[in-house]
Subunit: 83 residues, 2 copies
């Protein structure tokens, strides 16, 4: 079976996000003063073959932990759908 | 009212994604041959003040179009929740 996973990777809340601060400053300059916080992360779409949804879930979890995210400073969260 | 928006920005399907190709090659080397396609995008969380959900939605749409995404090569999609 083929699965599509979407992985959202964000900095842990305790980690400073200079990119988010820069985006917020840009928005303020453009007149969007109502934006109070911005955090920037990564978004990865994977397509993979697996026999069961459970197997696909384990693989995406390992892939996220080992390659996509840095678990010291980042959290990740993913959704999985069969396609 | 305060709203939280999560914006997912991805390259248009017709645009080559060298970062995704590199991630896929890394996964193959690590033994994850079952991963067939990888696309890498951006993920932005915004917190903003707005009077109504409709107003918040319009603002996030404008912000995504003007600053966060490059509409020539990227698509965006967002979810909005009141917090």
């Amino acid at each position: 079976m083929k699965f599509r996973a979407t992985v959202q990777i964000t900095l842990r809340p305790s980690v400073l996000d200079p990119q988010g601060v820069a985006v917020r400053a840009g928005l303020q300059q453009m007149g969007y003063a109502q934006v109070e916080e911005v955090r920037v992360g990564k978004y990865v779409q994977l397509e993979l073959e697996a026999e069961t949804e459970e197997q696909a879930r384990q693989q995406v979890d390992r892939i996220s932990d080992q390659l996509l995210a840095n678990p010291v400073i980042e959290n990740y969260h993913f959704d999985l759908v069969a396609v």
